[in-house]
């Protein structure tokens, strides 16, 4: 599919175009829409966003590259971003992050062999009193330990066997 002419996104795109003084201001929300459609910010998505905003694709790509929440490569179905910043690290987040990578047999930033989980560490997510924590496809999961995490992983595996869950 595409985002241009896709009825799923038409209303949201128009809402974002209407709320700013300039078209260019809508580049960030539109990049999220492209990421939702394609699972990552791919060249087609960049081109479409550029076309909607009358920008050069290079300008759109520079914005996508500047921010960490736009992924410039395909991700697993569940994108797990573990906070390992100082307050979380004081509560064992580095060890939790290392364990999670081991459990899923992935390198930093890598995706598990079944294509299900991408794991990476990120900076402070404003949840320092609920460490260890992570963000799964942009939703917060807090007060974690290994047992809780194992339960979540199997829940997500079951969920994935059913409905699709693309990145927002």
């Amino acid at each position: 599919m595409a985002i241009i002419g896709n009825p799923k996104y038409e209303e949201r795109i128009n809402h974002h175009l209407a709320k700013y003084e300039t078209k260019r201001s809508a580049v960030m929300p539109l990049l999220y829409i492209a990421q939702e459609e394609y699972g990552w910010v791919n060249p087609e998505g960049i081109k479409e966003v550029a076309q909607i905003l009358n920008l050069d694709p290079t300008q759109v790509k520079s914005i996508a590259g500047f921010y960490t929440m736009y992924s410039e490569k395909p991700k697993g179905k569940y994108w797990l971003q573990v906070c390992t910043d100082l307050p979380c690290a004081l509560k064992g987040a580095d060890e939790f992050h290392a364990w999670l990578k081991e459990e899923l047999q992935v390198e930093e930033g890598g995706t598990s062999a079944d294509g299900m989980f991408t794991v990476e560490h990120v900076m402070c997510l404003a949840a320092c009193d609920k460490a260890p924590m992570l963000q799964c496809n942009f939703h917060y999961v807090e007060n974690l330990d290994q047992d809780k995490m194992r339960d979540l992983l199997s829940k997500w595996r079951q969920e994935a066997a059913g409905a699709s869950n693309g990145h927002r």
Partner: protein, 418 residues
């Protein structure tokens, strides 16, 4: 008494009818009956200072907006990204209408045509909730045309960032909102001036917690607000406590409360009874670290008193470390944060954070020399004050102050290598 975290006392204050039943929008109503300049005078008289970190007097900031300019904006800084800070999140999750009411009062006071709430990208769910709040307010005539029958029009919008600490810096935030790279601008012109704000129009940029205080100031009066706290630090402050305490979390207390009361009475004292406190970062990664001595513990938490112990209150993200924590590791953690978050525009910050990180890693690995400790202090001192925004200074702080207060923590690594 909570002025900000009222969700702790009033169930469902995040619902509009409950918020209204507890005095919600009385502050906006009162404002709309006054002249805009009178609203600014009240906020000035309250002594409210910016809660994002800098502590600049809020009413004074509003008064910088040139009234003759036809187009003005309010931008709410909800990019909450300072390491250890999670207060704006609780305000927006549990008491969202109070933030929007405060923003609308500010908008009326400067006669803004629109409010943009810039949220950090990770606050996706909060953005959805605020959008629903804005729609509910539009239906009841609090947002949009002719607000509460006053003839004043103002729109409110949310905007999601996408994971960049630097966008909490006000000029970088404005660039990001305009669809450019989130990098700081050369000032002047300042955001409050024509040419310096959003879409080159005069703009107030205020933190979430700052604006959430404003409805109380209008309903209860500047004097009631000023009566709370210390002479130079009026009102309550939300202190975010994390790290080695029994009860981490947000605590809303009057400014001037001592660190001791916060850490022992509210946060429950050391996480492990046999491991005393060693150090504290009172303003996240960006403020100077201090050893947790009795003198520090007995210091009131206010802008003026924090200065006396060589640190700042800033956003009051208070990270506590016990005696097991190696300060070289802390310096490394905080440096990695700033290396990752440096926007790359100014050379001292971009290159300095890169080299600091490399040399500290070498020290931690046991491959460093005593000269390396001097080297990182030297690099840090050469970064401070040389960049367009404060991130360069923030990145220098952890190095300069950890070495100053905890030289032995560094010496153990460089001596161990023989």
């Amino acid at each position: 008494m909570h002025i900000l975290l009222r969700g702790r006392e009033i169930a469902n204050i995040k619902q509009l009818d409950v918020y209204e039943a507890h005095g919600g929008f009385a502050g906006l109503k009162k404002s709309l009956a006054l002249k805009p300049s009178e609203v600014i005078d009240i906020v000035k008289a309250s002594g409210l200072r910016g809660r994002g970190g800098a502590g600049f007097p809020t009413g004074v900031k509003w008064s910088f907006i040139p009234q003759h300019e036809p187009i003005k904006y309010v931008t709410v800084n909800a990019d909450e990204s300072e390491t250890g800070t999670f207060k704006d999140r609780e305000i927006m999750e549990e008491n969202p209408y109070q933030l929007i009411e405060g923003s609308l009062i500010c908008a009326y006071a400067i006669q803004a045509k629109a409010v943009y709430i810039y949220l950090r990208g990770e606050f996706w769910d909060i953005g959805d909730q605020l959008d629903a709040c804005i729609e509910a307010l539009r239906e009841k005539g609090y947002v949009g045309k002719n607000i509460m029958g006053s003839g004043y029009d103002c729109e409110v919008y949310t905007h999601l960032g996408a994971g960049a600490y630097i966008c909490g810096e006000e000029s970088a935030l404005l660039n990001s909102l305009e669809g450019y790279l989130g990098q700081p601008r050369v000032r002047p012109p300042f955001p409050a001036q024509k040419g310096g704000g959003l879409y080159k129009e005069a703009t107030v940029v205020n933190n979430v917690e700052t604006l959430a205080n404003v409805p109380f100031i209008l309903t209860d009066g500047a004097e009631a607000f000023k009566a709370i706290g210390t002479e130079q630090s009026a009102g309550n402050k939300i202190y975010c406590v994390s790290g080695h305490v029994k009860k981490p979390g947000n605590y809303e207390l009057s400014m001037g409360t001592t660190f001791r009361e916060l850490l022992y009475e509210h946060a429950g004292g050391p996480l492990h009874e046999d491991r005393p406190f060693k150090a504290m970062l009172p303003s996240g990664g960006s403020g100077p670290i201090v050893p947790l001595t009795d003198e520090v513990l007995d210091t009131p938490m206010s802008y003026e008193d924090a200065e006396k112990i060589g640190t700042i209150i800033g956003s009051a993200s208070i990270i506590i470390m016990d005696e097991t924590v190696d300060m070289t590791w802390v310096a490394s953690k905080v440096t990695k944060f700033f290396k990752h978050e440096s926007c790359g525009k100014c050379t001292p910050c971009r290159e300095g954070t890169y080299w600091l990180d490399k040399v500290i890693d070498r020290i931690l690995d046991g491959r460093g020399s005593p000269d390396d400790v001097k080297r990182i202090a030297d690099v840090a001192e050469n970064m401070a004050g040389t960049t367009l925004c404060a991130l360069g200074d923030f990145a220098a702080n952890p190095i300069i102050h950890t070495i100053r207060h905890f030289p032995d923590d560094f010496a153990q690594h460089v001596q161990a290598q023989g």
